[in-house]
C-alpha cells in the first residue's frame, strides 16, 4: 500500500479542489507523544480505519474504532485522543471545508452536484442522528481508494470525477446513518421517523424507492409493512400528509393555490386540485372560499 498525506496549501496534488483541507492515508508504526491532541475540528472530518484499533474522543466521549469503521467529526467538535497519540495502525483521513450551520444545515459549495432538496434531506439525516461512528462501513473505504487513484492518476475528467466521488461520500454516509438508525427497531418506530422526514420535506418529489431506501428496506417489504401498519400504501399516506398541510395553508395563509401545490409536493396546481377534490369533495379554491 502507498501512504500519503496531502494538505491544502502545501500539496499541489489537491490544489484543484480547494474545498479539500486534507486527504491522507497514514500508517503509524510507533507511538509519538502529542501527535493527536484534543482540538476543535475545522470543517468536517472523515476518519476511516484500515488496520489497528483506535481510541478516539469526540466531545468527551471516547469511541473504540476498529478496521472498516468510519468516524465523522463536525465543525467545532473537540476531537483527538485522550492519550494525545495515535496508536499503531493505518487509517484514511479526509477533511472537507464544509459549513454546517448550527449542526443542522449542511452547506457544501458550488463544486457539489447534489440537488437542493436532496441536500436538505442529507442535512437532516446527518443532523438528526447522534452517530459519530459508523461501524463496518466498507463502502467508504472503496470510495476513498477511488479518490486516491483518481488523484494520482490524473486521467481525463478526474477533476469532475473526484467532486462526484465527494458527493457520493455524503450520499452514502447519509444512507448508512439512516440504515443504522433504523436497524433493529420495530416498525412503528421506523415509521415514525419516516413520517417526520416526509413532513419536513413535503415538497421533495418522494418515490417509494427513495422512502424505502431511507429506512433501509426493500421496496416490496416496505410497501407491505407501511400498508399493514398504517392502513395506506406509502404514496397514499404521503398524500394524506400533503393534503393535511395544504388544508392548513388554505386556511391560514394567503398564498396562491399554485404555491401551495408546489410547497406540499404536488407537481402542478391541476394535480393538487384533482387529488384534493377526490378526497374532500371540494376543489381547493372552493374549500378556501367556504372556510
Amino acid at each position: 500500500m502507498n501512504y500519503f498525506s496531502l494538505t491544502k496549501g502545501k500539496s499541489e496534488e489537491i490544489s484543484s479542489w480547494p474545498h479539500v483541507f486534507e486527504f491522507s492515508k497514514m500508517k503509524i508504526q510507533s507511538v509519538k507523544a502529542d501527535s493527536f491532541l484534543m482540538e476543535e475540528n475545522q470543517g468536517v472530518t472523515f476518519m476511516y480505519v484500515l488496520d489497528g484499533k483506535y481510541y478516539w474522543t469526540i466531545e468527551n466521549q471516547t469511541f473504540t474504532v476498529f478496521p472498516n469503521d468510519l468516524v465523522v467529526v463536525f465543525p467545532g467538535q473537540l476531537f483527538g485522543s485522550l492519550t494525545g497519540t495515535f496508536e499503531v495502525g493505518t487509517f484514511v483521513s479526509l477533511r472537507l471545508d464544509v459549513d454546517f450551520q448550527d449542526q443542522s444545515e449542511l452547506r457544501l459549495g458550488d463544486w457539489s452536484n447534489i440537488t437542493e432538496s436532496e441536500r436538505r434531506l442529507i442535512s437532516q439525516i446527518i443532523s438528526q442522528k447522534d452517530q459519530s461512528i459508523i461501524p463496518n462501513f466498507k463502502l467508504f473505504g472503496e470510495l476513498a481508494s477511488k479518490i486516491e487513484s483518481e488523484i494520482f492518476a490524473n486521467e481525463v475528467g478526474y477533476k469532475t470525477k473526484i467532486n462526484n466521488l465527494l458527493d457520493d461520500i455524503w450520499i452514502c454516509t447519509a444512507r448508512q446513518m439512516s440504515k443504522n438508525e433504523n436497524q433493529g427497531r420495530i416498525f412503528p418506530q421506523t415509521f415514525h421517523r419516516l413520517d417526520q422526514m416526509l413532513r419536513e420535506n413535503l415538497s421533495h418529489p418522494w418515490t417509494v424507492e427513495e422512502m424505502a431506501a431511507t429506512i433501509g428496506l426493500g421496496t416490496t417489504t416496505f410497501t407491505e409493512k407501511v400498508k399493514a401498519f398504517s392502513g395506506f400504501p406509502p404514496l397514499n399516506y404521503l398524500i394524506n400528509l400533503r393534503i393535511s398541510e395544504a388544508i392548513r395553508l388554505l386556511k391560514n395563509s394567503d398564498r396562491s393555490l399554485t404555491d401551495i401545490a408546489l410547497d406540499t409536493g404536488f407537481y402542478s396546481s391541476q394535480h393538487f386540485s384533482t387529488t384534493f377534490k377526490k378526497l374532500t369533495g371540494y376543489t381547493p379554491g372552493h374549500f378556501r372560499k367556504n372556510n
Partner: protein
C-alpha cells in the same frame, strides 16, 4: 340490510367498523396517523391529518365494503380518546396542533391547581383527577406560556369535536367527553364555575353539551355526496373510548370490572354513583344520565411492552411489531409464575393511578446471576399487571369486584389473561369482540335504532369467549411479589425525583 358505522379516533389511528342490527361486525378498516413529539413532554395530533385519515378510511370502507354488499347505513356513531385540547379561532381554524392526553407539559399548572384551596371540590365536582392530562391544566398552560394563542382562541375543543364540526358545522360535546375535561360538573351536568375561573374562561368558549345519544346533528350535504353516504344518515355523537370499551366488553352491573391493556391501561367499573376517593386517585366519567364509569388509568401498559420488544432487546433488523410480540409472548410462557423472583416496576413514563407521580421511573429488582432474558421478559409483563392490580386493589375498597372483563389488544392474549387471573385471584372473562370500543359505540346506535331498551340490556348482549380461572399456587407467589412491588414504589419516591433530574 341496515347497518351502523362506528368511528373511533384513538391516539394513533382511526378505526372504523360497521355492524348490522344484530350487532355482528360486518366491515372493519383502520388508518394510522402520527403522534407528534415536537419536544420533550409534548405529544400532539395534527387535526387536519386526523380529519383526512377519517375521510380516507371511511370513504374506502363505504365504497369497497358497504356499498357492494347492499347495506343501508342508518347512522354513524363517534368515539374518541379523552383529554385532547385543540384551540380554534373564530373562523373554526385550528391554532396549532391538538394537545393529547399523553402530553405532560402542564405538570406545573396541575401542581398549582392541586395546591389551590378548591382543588378537592374541583376534583369531586368534575370527576377528573387534577393532572397534566386534564384539559383544565392544559388550558392553564396555554394561558401562562402562550398568551397570544390563548387570546386568539375562540373555543377550546377536543379532536372529536373538531371532526364532528367538519362533518356537521356544529360545535357539540357529549357528556362523557365533557366529564373528562376537568371543567364539567358531573353532578349538575353543566360547566363548572370554579374550573372556568382558573383560566378566566367563559362557557361560550366551549361547545354545547349533549347526551351521548344525541342525534340532532346534520351531516353536511357536500360531504355526504363525496363519501357516498345516504343524505339522511344519522350522526350520533357517541361517547369516549374509555366509557365505550367498558360497555363494549359487557360490563355494566355490580361485581364486574374491566381491565384494559392497550397502549395505556385502566381498571374501570360502571355504577349509579361516583366513587369518592379522599386521595383523589380515581376518575368518574358520565356515560349516560344515570351511569358513571369510574376507575384509574396507568401510563405504563402496552407501551412498556412495546419498549421491551423494540428498545430493551437488540434486533438483527427491522422487525414487524406483531411478529416480535408473538415471539415474546411465546417466550414468556417458558418461565414460571413469578419470574424466579425478578420484579419489575413499570414506571417508564411516570405514572398516573394510583400514585400520580410524573417522576416515577422503572426498575428491575432482585436480579441474580441466573436470570436470563426470558425472566426479564416475563417480569416485565408481570410488572405491568401488578400496576393494574395496584389500581384494582384500591378500587375494591369502594366496589365489590368478582369478575374481570378484558379489553385492549394485549389484555386478552392468553398469557396476560392467565397472569391477570392469577394476580387478582379472580375469574377473568374474555369476550367475543375484537374491537370493544367500536362495539360499545354500535350498542349506542342499536339503542337508538330501538334494538335494546337501555344500556343494561345492551351490555348483556356481549357474549363470553373464554373464561380463565385463577391458580391458587400462582396467586400466592404473586401476592408475595406484589408486597415487595408496593414497598418499593412507596419507598423510592425521593430517589425517583433524584434520578429524574439526571435524565
Amino acid at each position: 340490510m341496515d347497518c351502523i358505522i362506528t368511528i373511533d379516533i384513538n391516539t394513533s389511528a382511526v378505526k372504523i367498523a360497521a355492524y348490522d342490527l344484530a350487532g355482528r361486525l360486518m366491515a372493519f378498516r383502520k388508518g394510522s396517523f402520527s403522534i407528534l413529539y415536537p419536544q420533550a413532554d409534548h405529544s400532539e395530533q395534527d387535526p387536519e391529518q386526523v380529519f383526512i385519515t377519517v375521510l380516507f378510511v371511511l370513504k374506502d370502507l363505504v365504497r369497497e365494503q358497504i356499498l357492494p354488499s347492499n347495506h343501508n347505513i342508518i347512522s354513524i356513531v363517534f368515539s374518541a380518546s379523552m383529554h385532547s385540547v385543540l384551540p380554534i379561532d373564530s373562523r373554526g381554524n385550528p391554532l396549532g396542533n391538538a394537545i393529547i392526553w399523553a402530553d405532560n407539559r402542564a405538570k406545573n399548572e396541575a401542581d398549582f391547581i392541586k395546591k389551590s384551596a378548591n382543588a378537592n371540590s374541583i376534583y369531586e365536582n368534575t370527576g377528573t383527577p387534577i393532572h397534566a392530562m386534564s384539559p383544565l391544566a392544559k388550558i392553564a398552560w396555554i394561558k401562562n406560556i402562550q398568551p397570544e394563542r390563548f387570546r386568539k382562541t375562540s373555543k377550546f375543543i377536543s379532536i372529536k369535536e373538531y371532526i364532528i364540526y367538519q362533518f356537521t358545522n356544529q360545535y357539540v360535546i357529549d357528556y362523557s367527553m365533557a366529564s373528562a375535561t376537568g371543567l364539567f360538573n358531573i353532578k349538575e351536568k353543566r360547566w363548572e364555575q370554579d374550573s372556568l375561573d382558573i383560566s378566566e374562561l367563559k362557557t361560550t368558549q366551549f361547545s354545547d353539551y349533549v347526551s351521548v345519544f344525541n342525534a340532532d346533528l346534520k351531516l353536511k350535504p357536500g360531504l355526504a355526496k363525496s363519501l357516498q353516504l345516504p343524505k339522511n344518515t344519522k350522526i350520533i355523537i357517541g361517547s369516549t373510548d374509555g366509557c365505550l370499551a367498558t360497555l363494549g366488553s359487557g360490563v355494566f352491573g355490580e361485581g364486574q370490572a374491566t381491565i384494559s391493556i392497550s397502549h395505556t391501561g385502566a381498571v374501570r367499573v360502571a355504577g349509579k354513583k361516583v366513587i369518592k376517593d379522599k386521595e383523589n386517585r380515581f376518575f368518574n366519567y358520565i356515560l349516560d344520565e344515570e351511569t358513571y364509569i369510574s376507575g384509574g388509568p396507568t401510563n405504563n401498559a402496552g407501551v412498556v411492552l412495546e419498549w421491551f420488544a423494540s428498545s430493551f432487546r437488540n434486533h438483527p433488523s427491522i422487525v414487524d411489531f406483531e411478529d416480535a410480540v408473538e415471539d415474546l409472548f411465546k417466550e414468556a410462557t417458558l418461565v414460571k409464575s413469578g419470574s424466579n423472583g425478578l420484579l419489575f416496576l413499570p414506571y417508564l413514563l411516570g405514572e398516573r393511578a394510583p400514585i400520580w407521580n410524573s417522576n416515577a421511573r422503572g426498575s428491575y429488582f432482585g436480579i441474580n446471576i441466573k436470570h436470563q432474558p426470558k425472566h426479564f421478559l416475563r417480569a416485565t409483563i408481570e410488572g405491568i399487571i401488578f400496576e393494574i392490580y395496584s389500581i384494582g386493589k384500591i378500587l375494591e375498597m369502594y366496589r365489590k369486584i368478582d369478575k374481570l372483563y378484558l379489553t385492549g389488544k394485549y389484555a386478552s392474549l392468553p398469557i396476560c389473561a392467565g397472569i391477570i387471573a392469577d394476580v387478582f385471584g379472580k375469574q377473568v372473562i374474555v369476550s367475543d369482540e375484537a374491537e370493544n370500543v367500536n362495539k360499545g359505540a354500535a350498542l349506542l346506535g342499536m339503542i337508538d335504532a330501538g334494538v335494546f331498551k337501555n344500556l343494561e340490556e345492551a351490555a348483556k348482549s356481549i357474549t363470553v369467549k373464554n373464561v380463565y380461572e385463577p391458580v391458587a399456587e400462582n396467586n400466592d407467589t404473586y401476592q408475595k411479589l406484589f408486597d415487595i412491588f408496593q414497598r418499593l414504589t412507596n419507598k423510592l419516591s425521593e430517589e425517583f425525583e433524584m434520578i429524574e433530574k439526571l435524565q
